[in-house]
């Protein structure tokens, strides 16, 4: 594959403008998912010389922008790898932000001729893809892992050290909620179907929409507070909590047999649905392991399948009963 690395350093600035904010908003909302990349190469921030530090990042716009905006008022080289427009952590997990790409970038930008020193500062979360030892052996450059978050870079650069806090991933409310709009986009066709369904059967359609939105927005928000360890279980608990007001509305103060069947079917269909949405959130969290997720899939997918199938049969039975007049 021909390298798209810029052969000469490209000047850039730390301050982000309206264009960048617009790009980030689109990325967060899931628009033009493949379009958020910057040209790989060596960028210069401020007035660099052969002693300037070199910080490495991915060529996803938000990765690059997080790095340069954290370095306001500083002079530095930014080495942007060709990670196919994918962020540091995801690219490192798949080896795209890896030893080979870093070596390619060093060679393509002729970094060794541009700096006297041999130190590279990499984001900590690129470590799954990069072998510091191999980089040293094959290029002479020493990889230093900086903090997880770009915002901690000023502290790291001033002291040369990371505090324990800088080394740990966090998953705060903001980090969790910022992911929801992209999830919304991923389920857009399902939601459009549900909106159509809501036109035909307003009560059930609305319930399904609220449950889906609950799974996409409320689930990440409430993640640490929902009981259980498996995300699927937490999601099913949330599903049950969200169905309950509807069920109470339908059955209070009295309910006939058809309503009871409908309510049971609602739980059987919607609880696993929110559980499934929650299961799919594992890849967005910074703590799910492959072994854990595999185990979770094998434990909870059968339960969800059995519940959904029973719910579908019960709904069909109830509907036929009402239409046939024997319920």
């Amino acid at each position: 594959m021909p390298s798209d690395y810029a052969s000469d350093p490209i000047p850039t600035v730390a301050r982000l403008g309206r264009e960048e904010r617009w790009d980030h908003a689109k990325a967060r909302l899931g628009f033009d998912r493949m379009g958020h990349h910057v040209r790989p190469g060596l960028y210069t921030l401020g007035s660099t010389n052969s002693e300037s530090k070199v910080l490495v990042t991915a060529n996803y716009t938000m990765s690059f922008d997080a790095l340069r905006s954290a370095l306001e008022g500083r002079d530095a080289f930014l080495l942007v790898l060709d990670t196919q427009g994918i962020n540091v952590w995801c690219a490192a997990g798949k080896g795209i932000f890896g030893t080979d790409e870093l070596l390619r970038a060093i060679a393509a930008t002729r970094l060794a001729e541009r700096v006297e020193h041999r130190d590279l500062i990499l984001p900590q979360l690129s470590a799954p893809g990069v072998s510091a030892k191999a980089v040293k052996e094959r290029s002479g450059f020493t990889v230093k892992y900086g903090p997880v978050r770009a915002e901690d870079l000023p502290g790291y650069l001033d002291t040369g050290e990371c505090t324990e806090d800088m080394r740990r991933v966090r998953f705060d409310l903001r980090d969790r909620l910022v992911l929801a709009p992209v999830e919304l986009r991923n389920y857009r066709w399902g939601l459009i179907l549900l909106i159509l369904a809501a036109v035909l059967v307003p009560f059930y359609g609305l319930m399904a929409i609220i449950l889906t939105l609950g799974g996409l927005f409320l689930f990440p928000a409430l993640l640490p507070y929902l009981p259980g360890k498996a995300l699927s279980f937490k999601g099913m608990v949330l599903g049950a909590l969200l169905v309950t007001p509807f069920a109470l509305f339908q059955t209070f103060p009295t309910a006939d047999l058809v309503t009871v069947i409908a309510v049971v079917a609602e739980y059987l269909l919607l609880v696993p649905w929110v559980g499934y949405l929650a299961l799919n959130f594992t890849g967005s969290t910074p703590f799910a392991s492959r072994t854990g997720v595999k185990k979770e899939i094998f434990t909870y997918i059968p339960i969800m399948a059995i519940m959904s199938v029973s719910g579908a049969f019960l709904s069909a039975f109830g509907a036929l009963g009402v239409v046939g007049g024997w319920l």
């Binding site: 990325a27 998912r33 493949m34 958020h36 996803y60 196919q84 427009g85 994918i86 962020n87 995801c90 690219a91 490192a92 997990g93 798949k94 795209i96 900590q124 979360l125 470590a127 799954p128 893809g129 990069v130 072998s131 510091a132 030892k133 892992y145 997880v148 990371c162 324990e164 080394r167 740990r168 991933v169 986009r185 991923n186 299961l279 799919n280 594992t282 890849g283 967005s284 969290t285 910074p286 703590f287 799910a288 392991s289 492959r290 072994t291 854990g292 997720v293 595999k294 979770e296 899939i297």
Partner: protein
Amino acid sequence: MIEIEVLDLEQGSTIKPINTLVFHPDRCVNCGICLQVCPHRVFAPGERRVMMVNGADCMECGACQKNCPANAIKVDSGVGCASAMIMAALKGRDEVNCGEDCCR
């Protein structure tokens, strides 16, 4: 060779590992790079070698294994993403990758 597996202490079991992380303290050269790369503080500094103190929190990212110069850490690293695994299973592929809808 001493193998220490991560034990599922919550279930009181002594044989059931909850992830694939294995630390060989006898090979550790105490360089400390695992302390730097681990995002979950699985390892802690020790006097002559690092200590694995929080193995259950390992998310199998593989950063420690990739950077350990002494091959003292083994982990079957991978991406803990259910939707990617389900998608891979549905499409009959082994490994998951980034696509239009995921991992940007």
